[in-house]
Amino acid sequence: MKRRKIVSSIALFISCLTALWGIFWLFFIIFDVLRHGISAINFDLFFKDPAPPGQPGGGLRNAFVGHILITLCATLIGVPIGILGGTFLAEYGRKYKISKFISNLADIMVSIPAIIVGAFIYSVIVKPLGHFSGWAGGVALGIIMIPTVLRTTENMLSLIPWTLREAAFALGAPYYKVIIQIVYRGASTGILTGVILAIARVTGEAAPLLFTAFNNAFFSINMNEPMASLTVTIFQYAMGPYEEWHTQAWGASFMITVFILFTTILGRILIRRRYKF
């Protein structure tokens, strides 16, 4: 009897330790990025373009602007396709087996290696055009966004009670009007959360940009040219030999981490408020 109790408390204690282990790494990483990054944040980082390699000064204006443009392009591709696709799965197609299949496939696609998407886009966009471009980067990230947005939209629409739709049908509204004016309105917070989380996820992606948007040491807002992004710049600078580069890479990491933590937590608060989980 006593031995069993001791075994039980030891096992439960170990389980508490594992939770601490996970939380320990989270705080270790976040504090480390904050500690290194905060000293790298200054006016120049945002408003100056990179100095020639090895020389002090300069900033990452090109990467910040490029990153925003590429993410914007990805959002414009991924969000509409994701929301409309999710609408089909939850509304028109909810009775078909193929919808279940598509939604499972989307779940798998969420975890497919991002670098594969980069290789795919390299073959269908970069090679035929003959050069790297911001568009290619945007499309690659857009593709990564689609399944995430699609799945959250599907889930959020399914949470809207059927009686609400039936009330609208009874008034003679066609299905598309019911969806747009009733269902979307009811699920708007949930869908918005999905979009926010998808943007947060895509912001941190580097692998799919390596051979689509590539990199650009100069300021450019031409999406048809190779374009710098924060994540690819972090990779290049961190692996580079210059102390100055490392500092700037920490600065960029700091900004990305803060942005992603902020948006992720915001998304969670939004969804919790709306659905009271």
Partner: protein, 310 residues
């Protein structure tokens, strides 16, 4: 009359629009597969399957390419990461579902899930500048002086502890994949009917016995699904590993060797591939990775679906 048919047409158009976007997922997945296959055809024809997968040579100058070192690197990092992460994840899931007081459940759950929100490039950065020095200074010498002294097993810790090696990469990967297994395991644990648990408590079982003999057996399919999901993630992780692995094309003797994985090779060499056959060989690697991770993720998904249906 005309009003009704007009709205019917609009409705139909909206239906078509949503259906097309939904089916774009199927199109994308098959498109990715076909494009990778098409691009890797020259390499498939030249090296074959066995000649590629089991060959250790990677020589762009002589145009001989073999995938064995990269594949082995991928398998070692992914399985070691799994080995380190799965017990921790299950422990965390037990903590959240069975032990934690209600006011701790949400914050701890959120904190663990935030681990998944941190982008892999940040893990890589942190791994290279913070974790790698710690590993090479303290942790790896410690393992060398303990496990390293045991005759046969000790071989895996031979070599100079530089911090840029398989061991560090696996540790980083293991931290990254904790949240995936943990959250799926937590959901599966929550599906255990409380009647079962209460019956066990009623006949005098301790909390650990309830977890071990009731909850875990009941939810093992779901947990297995979560493990599969983590494995799929670990196989395809690129940036976090690229920082700390060194892209060295050799079959590693010990965990303290630099190595390459499929993803690291792709990330480092894709834009440098100047010959068609070189690029094609890289696409062949990408194809193998895609098929592997897709198969594992699909299997994991069927487990998870099965667990939910019970």
């Amino acid at each position: 009359m005309s009003k009704i048919s007009k709205s019917k047409i609009k409705d139909f158009m909206f239906l078509i629009l949503t259906a097309l976007t939904a089916f774009s997922i199927i199109l994308l997945v098959s498109g990715i597969f076909l494009v990778l296959l098409k691009e890797s055809l020259p390499a498939i024809n030249k090296f074959g399957f066995k000649g590629f997968v089991f060959s250790t040579e990677w020589d762009p100058v002589r145009e001989i390419f073999g995938a064995a070192p990269a594949l082995i690197g991928t398998l070692i990092t992914a399985s070691l990461a799994l080995l380190l992460a799965v017990p921790v994840s299950i422990g965390i899931a037990i903590f959240i579902t069975e032990i934690a007081p209600p006011f701790l459940k949400t914050p701890v759950g959120t904190a663990i899930e935030l681990l998944a929100a941190i982008p892999s490039i940040i893990y890589g950065m942190w791994g290279l500048f913070t974790l790698a020095p710690i590993m090479s200074k303290y942790i790896e010498p410690f393992f060398q002086s303990t496990i390293g002294k045991i005759p046969i097993v000790g071989k895996i810790f031979e070599g100079t502890p530089l911090g840029v090696d398989l061991f560090t990469a696996s540790v980083i990967l293991s931290i990254m994949i904790i949240p995936f297994t943990a959250s799926i395991a937590r959901d599966s644990f929550n599906l255990t009917p409380s009647v079962l648990k209460e019956s066990a408590y009623a006949i005098g079982a301790t909390k650990w016995e309830v977890v071990k003999d009731i909850v875990l057996p009941y939810s093992k399919i779901g947990v297995l699904g979560g493990v599969g999901l983590s494995l799929g993630r670990a196989l395809g992780e690129t940036m976090a590993v690229a920082f700390v692995l060194g892209n060295l094309n050799q079959i590693p003797d010990s965990l303290l060797d630099a190595a390459a994985t499929v993803t690291v090779k792709l990330a480092n060499e894709f834009t440098e591939a100047d010959k068609d056959i070189y690029l094609s060989a890289l696409y062949y690697l990408a194809l193998l990775l895609f098929v592997m991770s897709f198969a594992i993720l699909a299997l994991a998904k069927t487990f998870i679906v099965k667990a939910e249906r019970r």
